[in-house]
Symmetry: C2
Subunit: 213 residues, 2 copies
DNA sequence: TTGACAACATACCGGGTAGTATGTTCATCA
DNA sequence: TGATGAACATACTACCCGGTATGTTGTCAA
């Protein structure tokens, strides 16, 4: 259900560049990352990158977009889920959190992209791209927002302000992009265990009724 | 109980510079902020800043340290609180969250400082300062960590991994530094209401028993 | 086989910015 | 009162990095 980069990029050259860029941007941030850094990680030079992307900002935007594309694709199968609300929310939250862990470099770049978009203060053309990203991510957030809103009106969840609750929920679910690191010898079960704890925290935070874990 | 910058800086000149720097760093981030930006906000020039701080990195570090100083000072009165654990945790969490809102520029810079420290990749001397910041903040985090650990062993809280729970709790409590903006006409009660919702979310997330709000 | 184009590498330029070196003003104190 | 130094402003330098212009290699079609 979770997707990797290459399934989105049939063109290997682009996938390699995007992956290297995502890693660099994650490690040092947008401004501190030079195109030469990305090229060095690829074992190549600037020329290769500028042949495919007109500017650094476009490369960054593409990494962000790819990250969000993967998120949308991951929860897409759950759009038609007809389970009860709490089950549906739990599935969505679990998939989302797993996504944060398994495509962490991209998700962290998305986070910085959203921050840059909110700050403003860039060139008009880049502004356009970042605003697109913002709308793209807001649309994604609205999917969850709607579910927890329904959940509250059905007595499944209990909270006051919908906007605040949504923010807090996403902060919890997204948080692994900041503190998760793959331990050597970590099993699939270990990771599932972490994800479960994160989702449980968010569910309880939303005032959700306890369900069988 | 919450403290402002000037109470920490008897020297007004330093307080002005730190406040301007905090605002600039918050708005554009460390790398994208030039010393001239800070000077411009002060209605001054570079000379003034370099007269007090040897380098940009030192100014940044000082902003971080000041932010953490304010946090420590804010919860200091609660160290000797002999109330029951849930009450004590709630008071600490409330003070902390209020701190995030009322000194938001500084707290946001602290966040970026921690990120820079975790990434590494800087000059050795700055590395030293950032590592100091990291230890300083970890010490602060341990205060909360101990309280929720005790709370769990006394049946007040319920969660699995202590480290993960602490991370998730702080993500929730810190989150206003990302999404809080002061609304025009916002009253003191409005702000208290926001803080209460954040604290409630975190408490429930930790598996805390509901108490009278 | 050759021309033409894609996919890069190499070499270079220009703007922005951290940091410095030097002036200038003003207060304080011997 | 003049000497001294703190607290800045001004002027300048050096470097890094984004972007471009040009060179090189391989492939493929006619």
């Amino acid at each position: 259900m979770t997707l990797s980069v290459r399934e989105f990029m049939p063109d290997i050259a682009h996938a390699d560049i995007l992956e290297a860029a995502a890693l660099c941007f994650m490690e040092r941030g947008y401004n501190a990352t030079s195109i030469d850094d990305v090229a060095r990680r690829l074992g190549a030079t600037k020329g290769r990158i500028y042949h495919h992307y007109p500017a650094k900002a476009d490369l960054f935007a593409k990494v962000c977009r790819t990250g969000m594309d993967m998120n949308y694709a991951a929860i897409e199968p759950l759009r038609n889920d007809s389970s009860d609300l709490l089950t549906r929310w739990t599935r969505m939250a679990t998939v989302h959190t797993r996504q944060m862990i398994e495509t962490r470099p991209f998700q962290r770049v998305v986070w910085e992209g959203v921050e840059l978009a909110l700050r403003g203060s860039t060139t008009p053309q880049q502004r356009e791209e970042l605003d697109d990203l913002l709308r793209y991510r807001n649309g994604y957030g609205d999917i969850f927002r709607e579910v927890i809103a329904q959940g509250r009106s059905h007595g499944v969840f209990e909270f006051e302000d919908l906007g605040i609750a949504n923010q807090l929920m996403f902060m919890a679910l997204n948080s692994p992009i900041f503190w998760y690191t793959r331990r050597p010898g970590e099993t699939e079960a270990d990771r599932d265990n972490i994800i479960r704890q994160v989702v449980t925290f968010a569910m309880r935070g939303l005032g959700g009724k306890r369900q069988t874990q």
